[in-house]
Every structure is written in structure tokens, then in C-alpha cells.
Symmetry: C5
Subunit: 91 residues, 5 copies
């Protein structure tokens, strides 16, 4: 899993039926300190994440399909948690 | 999923039978602002995408095979939507 | 598999039920000499790893689900061993 | 799928029985304009590709095993087509 | 598959039972000319590879599990051949 931040969404009128009715979130990838890395993923949402929120993203297709309970979902990335904090080791 | 833009197609006369009859699109990868990243994928088409169009590409083999409804498709990347707009968070 | 070092954990109050009750470790990726590479993964824990420990991380979903003995685990990365030493060839 | 060019092959006398009798091609990765990227893959051959030829390479294990019709093939990359041309959009 | 060179091994006293009894090799990744790329993988061994040897590494979990004949092996990378030579095209 990786950390991301929801920054937008994709609008698509023409698409494969299997995409129908699913919100397509744009999430920028974050490093472990919460800074954007420059990368992004387009992810489905399993928990109701909002713009600007830091989230936990599963980036593995078979696991993602099991969460959606849909063996046919065209999915690789899915938002599975809202991140309250990342507690880093201090020494 | 990732964002891409259709920039061409691959012509292949000699190929494995399983590729027969499928158009092979060249799609450059885009960042979340729609700028080319320098990377590309060769993708099948599930929706009828045209040259120059910004598209949504699923880059995961098992999901892609389910969209084509063909368990034997030699596929990793498939175009699943035409992107009208990417709405980015503004604050 | 890759080498990592546990540097923290993710706190998430709102999440998909399937994440419930699992500790989410932040592990920085290490190179083969044990130096951080700058990358990280968020991993589940199968062995009771503690902060600062160097660990062995499996980064492949199907294998990770088998270790957790849970076909539905939303997992790609899992800590499977604590590393005592990396013995490098000397000539 | 990606574009590659066959540049050599790997000679291996001692190997797992499952590799026996399969030619191991070295293919350098090409960008969408046909320039080498510096990367490479070692691929099996499903079509009879020759040295110097530009080819289409599937880089996904489950799809590759289906092409070889061998559920046990230790394969991730396989050559599935010879590329005659890459037609790029001109405006 | 990729080319690697065995440079060491990982010592782990505390680990998941499924790792028990398997040697964990450290293999640096090589480019197609046999030069180290800076990357590495930790791999299981299917053929009896020794330190300093150039090897062929399969980096795909499902194929790797089939080679070990163990559906539960926590594995992504496995050494499947010792490389005698890489024959590159000369023109």
C-alpha cells in the first residue's frame, strides 16, 4: 500500500460499461513524510474519501477486486482508508 | 489506472494468432496535469478511442482480460474510457 | 522480496472493514548495504516487528494473502522476517 | 505491452528443468520512437523473432503462460509480434 | 526475467514459518552487458547458485511458486538458471 492525497477526479462520458457509476479519484502519491512525489494514480473509492484528504491506497488488482466484491472490476488502485496520522519513529 | 493520450498504433504482420484482429494503440503516459511523462504503453482498445484523445488506461492484466471477456488475451494495458476532463482540487 | 526498516505506522480511524485490526507499518526501503533508498512501503506484519528493526518484506499480493491465510486481505506488502545480518560476498 | 529489439540471447547450461529447450532472448526496451531506453528484458519467443528485429513484448506472467499454453512456464516476458512500423500521429 | 549476480545472503532468525529452511540470496541486478545497475532482489534458489555467479532470475510470483511446487511459498523472485554467457548481436 502507499500513501496518497485526493486532488481531483476524472470525468469520462464515454467509457466501458464496467466503469459506469464509479467515481474515479485522482490521488497524488506521497512520500513517508507526506510530501508529494510527483507521481499519481487514478483510484476507485471504497470508503468515501474527500478532496484534500490523505489516504491509504492499495495498488494491487486482485486485492482491490476483493474489496469491491466484484471479480470483474477493472481496477488496480483503490482507496481503503483515511489517514489521521503517520507516526514516525523518533530516537 | 493511468492517464494517457493516443499517439499512434503498431503495425505487425507476423504475430502470435492471439493478437490477430486487435488494434494495438500507442499511448503516451500523462501526468495528472495532462503533460506527457516520456513513458508509453501499447494498449488494446475497449471503447473506440481515436488519435489525440486523452484516455483512461487500465494497466493490470487480470482486470484487462475480464474487460475483453477473453481469458486468453495477451494483454496488460487496455483503454477503458475517454477523458473529458480532469477536475483538480482548487483551494 | 526487499529489505526494509520499520520507521513508523499509519493511524487510520475511517477505513474499509477489511483493514480493521491490522497494524499498518511504514517501512523505508533499504539498498543491499542497508542504506535507505528514499522509497517506502506500507506493510502488514506477520511476525511482530518493532520500530527500527531491519526486516524482510514480501512485496507480492498473492503470496502475502497466503501468509495471512486470508484470501480477502487487501495486501501487497507484508513483513515476513527480521534480518539479523546481510552477509555480502568478500573477495 | 512494450516495444523491444532483440539484441542477443542467454546461454545457460545449468538451469531448472522448466527452462529446458526454450530460447532466452535478450531484448532492449525501446521508447515510442524506437530509441533504446537503456533497460532490457529476457523474454521467451512465441513467434520466431530474429536478431535486430523490433518486436512487441508482453510483460505480464499470467498472459504469457496462456500464450505458451503451459501453466507452469517460468515466464514473465514473451515476444508476441514482429513490428513492421509504429505509425505515430502527425498533425 | 532479469540478469543478476549472487552477492550474499540474508540471515534471519525470527521469521514466518513459511520462510523456514529456504536460503535467502541477495542478487544485484545486472544490465544487459553484465554491469550492476545499483538495484537488487532477495531471491530463493531453485538450482544451487553460488556466490559471484551470474544468474537468471524470474521476478514474478505465480511463476515462482510453480517452480518451487509450493502454492504457499512467500516468493516473488527465484533463481532459475546459471548464466554461462550473454551472446549479444554484433553487426
Amino acid at each position: 500500500m502507499i500513501l496518497g492525497r485526493i486532488t481531483g477526479n476524472v470525468v469520462s462520458t464515454i467509457h466501458h460499461p464496467i466503469v459506469e457509476g464509479r467515481k474515479l479519484l485522482v490521488a497524488e502519491r506521497l512520500d513517508k513524510n507526506g510530501k508529494p512525489t510527483g507521481g499519481y494514480v487514478i483510484a476507485f473509492d471504497a470508503i468515501g474519501a474527500g478532496y484534500g484528504e490523505t489516504v491509504l491506497i492499495l495498488d494491487e488488482g486482485n486485492g482491490a477486486r476483493q474489496i469491491l466484491d466484484d471479480d470483474n472490476a477493472p481496477v488496480r488502485s483503490i482507496v481503503v482508508g483515511i489517514v489521521d496520522a503517520v507516526e514516525l519513529e523518533s530516537s
